[in-house]
């Protein structure tokens, strides 16, 4: 890649913010490929795997996790300043993740309600994605991302090409895999029609609904799908909950869920 000096190995960091550690496993579960990858790049910061140097300058910084504390706001700015490419990985880093459900409510109140001494805890009232806080170069969606995604991204960035983002909806993947559609055949409220592929349509292949863990696809028709769910007998509040789960802070899921919730005239949960 352009930034790397000839002969020098590209420097890579893997940072963790508010998250479950699951997306780092896309690296740690690579096995042989991880060993090979470590021969091609220098992991200069990857605390879970060993090296700790959070302020090192790197060619690629992968970031797992959302911005949920004042300290994380400061950290992501430093990471941005030190990185040539900044690549958020996973739902938390791209949209605030499941913990962004607090954004739909009074986050401060939640904290105070459930914590005996909230003053001990430094936490923002919201959980947001990296791109809501600093510029990013490329995003990998998914809760969790998988090894195929991170390897493809590393490969593309190292060769100086832009990675090609997924665009299909899970439904397309379903058709290719020959899955029986759970929405059509069983009336199960499946989010596949508005969710971007990347997972390989895992849930429908298991005969269950997609719950949207890869995030919204391009131009998803949330309106029509919501009405379809309503037609299947879901209450407006239940339709809202479908949209507000793993990627509740990401448009257009956020507004879609909001509209259904307002229809019901209640705000909680």
């Amino acid at each position: 890649m352009g930034a790397a000096k000839p002969g020098a190995r590209p420097r890579v960091a893997v940072h963790k913010l508010s998250s479950c550690d699951g997306c780092q496993l896309a690296f740690l579960d690579l096995g042989e490929d991880l060993v090979r990858l470590a021969e091609l790049v220098d992991f200069v910061h990857f605390a879970e795997a060993g090296p700790v140097d959070p302020d090192a300058e790197v060619d690629i910084a992968f970031v797992e996790g959302s911005i949920a504390t004042p300290d994380e706001v400061a950290r992501i700015k430093r990471i941005r300043a030190n990185s040539r490419y900044l690549v958020p990985i996973g739902a938390c880093a791209t949209s605030g993740g499941i913990q962004a459900l607090r954004n739909l409510h009074d986050g401060e109140k939640w904290l105070a309600e459930v914590y005996p001494s909230p003053e001990y805890v430094e936490s923002l009232a919201t959980s947001t994605g990296i791109a809501d806080n600093v510029d990013v170069d490329y995003e990998l969606w998914g809760c969790p991302v998988n090894g195929r995604q991170v390897l493809a991204a590393v490969r593309a960035l190292l060769w100086g090409v832009d990675p090609v983002p997924e665009q299909d909806k899970v439904c397309m993947e379903c058709k290719r895999a020959g899955n029986v559609c759970v929405l059509v055949s069983r009336g199960t409220p499946c989010l596949g029609p508005v969710t971007v592929t990347g997972c390989g349509a895992l849930c429908p292949a298991f005969g269950r609904d997609c719950y949207g863990c890869y995030g919204p696809a391009e131009n998803p028709n949330t309106e029509a799908l919501g009405r379809r769910f309503r037609g299947l007998g879901l209450l407006p509040e239940e339709v809202a909950r479908r949209f507000h789960f793993i990627h509740s802070h990401r448009e257009p899921l956020r507004s879609a869920g909001r509209r259904w919730r307002e229809d019901r005239g209640a705000d909680d949960p």
């Binding site: 699951g22 496993l25 579960d29 504390t69 913990q99 005969g207």
Partner: protein, 433 residues
């Protein structure tokens, strides 16, 4: 040279090779530790709050997100608690396959911990990747076992991180017999590798670190505990899982976003060593024979014996999975029907790091109205601080800072703390002592 009057401040701002974010601070004066804090500063993610209002059918997918390393444990404790409310009795097939699913997670998580997180400490490397050049056989064997564990999880969950196959009542999908046969053969073929791992781990130069502490695990008297049993502790405690909160008090401390838990007022241990101490008699025969040959002598109160315990549990999990998958047949339906009702339920299973306890309340339509989760790392946290204090003072605080810092990090890593899981917030009255 006596340096007893020296004042030391050890700070490890980011703990390496643990899951999640933590830091260690030690202050000592005149040869005694005056202040020691294992800071878990992983931000709160408020799971217990946003589970409220969710339908029972959404809980398994939600709680998986608490931890990427042990999602199966979260799913199993949760569905168990909800099933106890709805009066659902999963059939023999579901119970056996849940155990296999759980075996997969133990194999994956323990192999990851031993090789990628702990082993570099014993061989003087910064990371497993650095260690691979000189010890390729051992590291690659570990990665193969980790991958096998992942495959077992994916067999039932489609993927190993946040698997999508679990539901209240059983599974969404039964694996095909051919896939099971294939994987079972590979699990069987890996048994010698697991045995070699146990022997290798038994040779690690473990610090001699006998301490005095109570330990707690599930026990059911029939099999090595994963997803059923009563609470059992070295103190003689024997109680149903619904009573955990009667014996354990959680307390918020200023320096940590994870709670400190105490069993009848005392820090206690959960996890592989606690399980092994209390249930060694229930290990599969082959694993018990290996334990007899390689040790450690039980019961052990040297926390560092958690490492050989992990290796033995990998072996036991392989043996169990191979046994439970013999004569596999896919059932007509992989789950029991569920009719929601209002109530309170408890679920406790043995996550790789130890007892993971859930409590839910639901309304008549099966929606969650209250949730409480006690993860293993917050149960171990007070114990980790005690261990650090004892180990560092036993070494002598006149040792060089770098050595004390390294020793402290090793002590913590040995617990395999899952810091992402440990930070949780719950609706409870804190009992202060």
């Amino acid at each position: 040279m006596s340096d007893a009057g020296r004042r030391i401040d050890i700070r490890v701002p980011v703990l390496a090779r643990v899951e999640g974010e933590g830091a260690l601070e030690v202050h000592a004066e005149a040869g005694r530790i005056t202040d020691l804090r294992l800071r878990i500063y992983e931000p709160p993610r408020l799971f217990e709050r946003f589970l409220v209002g969710r339908d029972h059918s959404e809980v398994a997918d939600a709680v998986a997100r608490i931890c990427g390393i042990c999602p199966v444990a979260y799913q199993m404790s949760a569905v168990q608690a909800l099933e106890s409310i709805f009066g659902v009795e999963p059939d023999e097939w579901v119970r056996a396959m849940r155990r296999v699913f759980y075996c997969g997670e133990w194999i994956q998580s323990h192999a990851l911990h031993i090789h990628l997180l702990a082993a570099p400490d014993f061989f003087g490397y910064e990371s497993a990747l650095a260690m691979t050049a000189d010890h390729p056989g051992e590291v690659r064997r570990g990665m193969r076992l980790q991958a096998l564990g992942n495959e077992v999880m994916a067999l039932f969950g489609a993927r190993a991180v946040h698997p999508v196959g679990a539901r209240v009542g059983g599974f969404h999908h039964a694996p095909a017999a051919a896939a099971v046969r294939d994987l079972r053969a590979r699990l069987e073929a890996a048994l010698p590798e697991a045995e070699a791992l146990v022997r290798w781990a038994a040779g690690f130069p473990l610090p001699d670190n006998g301490q005095d502490f109570p330990y707690l695990a599930l026990r059911n008297g029939a099999d090595y505990p994963m997803n059923r049993g009563r609470l059992s502790a070295s103190t003689g405690l024997d109680a149903p899982v619904s009573e955990l909160a009667d014996h354990v008090a959680e307390e918020q401390v200023p320096h940590s976003t994870a709670f400190h838990a105490r069993l009848h007022g005392e820090p206690y241990l959960v996890g592989p060593l606690a399980r092994l101490n209390l249930n060694a008699d229930l290990l599969p025969t082959e694993t018990r024979a290996l334990l007899g040959e390689t040790g450690p002598a039980l019961p052990s109160t040297n926390p560092f014996h958690s490492l050989p315990a992990r290796a033995l549990e990998i072996h036991a999990a392989l043996v169990e999975a191979v046994r439970l998958l013999a004569d596999y047949r896919a059932p007509e339906r992989p789950h029991a029907e569920v009719t929601p009702r209002a109530g309170v339920g408890y679920g406790a299973t043995e996550a790789p790091r130890g007892l993971l306890w859930h409590r839910y309340e639901t309304d008549g339509s099966g929606r969650v109205t209250a949730a409480r989760i006690m993860p293993p790392t917050s149960q171990n946290q007070a114990r980790m601080e005690e261990d650090l204090r004892a180990t560092l003072e036993a070494r002598g605080l006149d040792a060089p800072d770098a050595e004390l810092r390294f020793l402290g990090e090793r002590v913590i890593r040995n617990y395999d703390p899952c810091i992402s899981c440990a930070t949780h917030f719950l609706d409870l009255t804190v009992r202060r002592r």
